[in-house]
Amino acid sequence: MSDTQTSAEHRRVADDSDRWREALHRIVSGSWAVSLGAIVLAVLGGSIMIIVTDPGVQQASAYFFSRPSDTFAAIGSSVGGAYYALFRGAVWDFGADSFAGAIRPLTQSLTMATPLIMAGLGVAVGFRAGLFNIGGRGQMLVAAAAGGWIGFAVDMPWPLHMLVAVLAGMVAGAVWAGIAGVLKAYTGAHEVITTIMLNYVGFYLVSYLLATPGLLQAPGSSNPKTPHMLTSAIMPDLLGRRYNLHLGFIFALLAVAYVWWLLNRSSTGFAFRAVGENPAAAKVAGIDVPRTTVSVMLVAGALVGLAGVTQVLGTVTTGFSYDIDAGIGFDAITVALLGGSRPIGVMFAAILFGAFKAGGSVMQAAEGVPIEIVQVVQALIVLFIAAPPLVRAVFRLPQPGKRPKRGKRAARRQEVAA
């Protein structure tokens, strides 16, 4: 290969990664208005799905032209009923006889949001440093396996036991993500590919551990499930036995505070963001880019690992199986996008998704709306978030100029000029 060819090759690779970076930057710098608009559009899209799948509407629409009012009544009752059930399952139970019962759904939403906050932060830290961490599933599974094993197999007093188990989970998650970080930093292997592959490795590894007597499998059983966690390792309920909300939620809030400090106040976080904005400039400024890449993945993996270990010590303490990640590793990507990769934004996005999850159960049970509808709404949110110009066009929000950083001001100036 001649020199010119090599340099052309280099330029092409650099162009490619620039394009990725640019796209990522645009996506994460979407404004609050876009997030809100995306949610509104997604809810409207969800309504359409509810309408077309509702048997009552289908029946009434068969004679639409003879009596249209029936169709509209059916549409109203199906959509209204579905979102009413969602609200009742996620925020406030109107049917409850006491205040304590009425706020139960809200605490359930927060419980569901807890792992999403943690994993969302993990993905967001990666985004800010220009890294796509798609490996949440694998990181959660190995963290659950490590923390879970300590949780049921080792005897220690509370709270030491719980803290050691949490720490073990975070370390396992960090190591799992760290592998991808090292491969990216020192061999250039794209982290999207390596983290996805590590999902498979983690999944089959944990499946094997669960199916092998003497490892994770509960003694006396041949089902792929671990034993119950020991009481000394379980995260205690915050509001008493009646509610599922557990100590993990406090950990999640601490993680939000920590990530906010890390990204906005620490020099490490500055290095993360500098590498995310422009690795070439960061290198010139004296930042060790490969080392930063590895540390980013370690922090991200530890946060996702915290989510994994919270699942087994807080949410499902009766023993876990290989789908304990519950798709949170992937939902976390959505949460990070919706939250604009900012800690506080991630927290609110996670609570919104937690509410969808908590409400989804009641929506199914009370109204017979398939759980897939809730997932469609979530998927539509991502779709609209990924297309900010579309959302801006629909809601007539100002379209930013080509430079996303000063987008708003530039747009406003343009308007004034016009």
Binding site: A62, S66, R67, S78, S222, S321, I371, E372
Partner: protein
């Protein structure tokens, strides 16, 4: 699969909207109620305030296996009782507890949970709600392994499928010209291996009685071939190919839809290999394998769920564990259908006699349920 169904629903709705020129029905109390749309007997609707509910495991109600069969049985019973029917599908194990809690909050009287995965969550919910009735399909609800169920208000539904698989094994051994029959499973769960183990015992019994040496490929009594999951994917097909490559002419794939991969592998091999279905009579549930199907090992979860809910709806809920066997028709083998001419009637007579012997206890079939 689910997305595809939504797509179909969308298309159907569009078609309905386009053809929305039909005349409106006469105003009557039943036509305005949307929730009676699925009930066959509107006259008996709301005749009772009993509510039957079902929660699936991560397989979903369209798994063509235990979730689906339990769902069908429960729904049918609820409709015949004129009872309210509620369903919740779980996507992962973190959904079990919230789904069960949602069922409690919407006023269910009997909650059916499908699969061993829901065992711990069901026990927890049952202990917290001692007035409600719980039915747990495919698990003994014994998570501390002391030999007793952990909550008094749970009725476990268990199936000794080894007995039916024994008959299928005997039949296959008699049918096989190659002297080799094969099996493989999704994952080495007790509810999967019980089929493979019963099948092997049946083949061994045939060898003992006839003095033959028919071999079982894919299960040696302790360990065997597994695809690692319950999806009809390339791994499942490769596993099937591997077993076919060892010269078998009867194949028993155990685990949800993985028989579809076996079907494709058989088609690719171009050999004359008979397939054995599991759970339902696959001849009826999947026409695409009719010509390949020797028989099916049936686990009549629809019947036992139906019976349980019918009894519960009439106030006769009996929480003692149900074990499906050949004698109570909880398990069984399906008719030969297209293979009727290919199987020696004398062999079928032997199988029928064997069934009676197992019921009488003269032939012993071992499984984890009767150790």
């Amino acid at each position: 699969m689910k997305t595809a169904m939504r797509g179909v629903a969308l298309a159907a709705a569009t078609a309905l909207a386009l053809a929305a020129c039909a005349s409106a029905p006469e105003e009557s109390p039943s036509s305005s109620s949307t929730d009676s749309a699925g009930a066959s007997e509107t006259s008996t609707a709301k005749a009772t305030d009993y509510t039957a509910c079902i929660v699936s495991d991560a397989g979903g109600f369209d798994d063509k296996s235990f979730n689906q069969l339990s769902y069908e049985g429960t729904k049918k019973a609820a409709q015949e009782l004129g009872a309210t029917f509620k369903e919740a599908q779980s996507d992962s194990e973190t959904d079990f507890q919230p789904n069960l809690e949602a069922m409690v909050s919407v006023g269910c009287d009997t909650i059916v949970s499908v699969g061993f995965a829901l065992s711990a969550a069901t026990v927890e919910s049952a202990l917290a709600n001692p007035d409600l009735q719980y039915v747990l399909v495919d698990d003994a609800a014994d998570n501390d392994f002391n030999g007793e169920k952990d909550a008094p208000n749970i009725k476990p539904l268990l199936y000794d499928t080894a007995q039916a698989a024994f008959l299928a094994g005997y039949l296959s051994a008699g049918y096989s010209k190659a002297g080799k029959v094969g099996t493989f499973g999704g994952q080495p769960y007790p509810t999967v291996t019980i089929f493979m183990d019963g099948f092997k015992q049946g083949v061994d019994y045939y060898n003992k009685v006839k003095g033959t040496d028919v071999k079982v490929v894919g299960w040696d009594g302790k360990d065997g071939s597994f695809t690692g999951g319950f999806e009809a994917n390339d791994t499942a097909k490769a596993t099937a190919n591997n077993i076919i490559g060892q010269g078998v002419d009867v194949l028993l794939p155990v685990g949800g839809p993985i028989y579809q991969s076996a079907r494709d592998a058989i088609a690719d091999s171009g050999k004359d290999i008979a397939l054995i279905g599991v759970d339902a009579d696959v001849y009826n549930t999947d026409p695409s394998v009719q010509s390949l199907l020797l028989t099916s090992i049936m686990k009549n979860m629809d019947v036992s769920c139906y019976d349980t809910i019918m009894a519960a709806g009439q106030g006769n809920f009996d929480p003692t564990a149900y074990v499906g066997t050949l004698s109570n028709d909880g398990v069984g083998i399906a008719p030969l259908h297209d293979y009727k001419d290919k199987v020696d009637p004398a062999l079928m007579d032997e199988v029928n006699k064997l069934k009676q012997d197992i019921i009488d206890g003269t032939v012993k079939v071992t499984s984890y349920l009767n150790q």
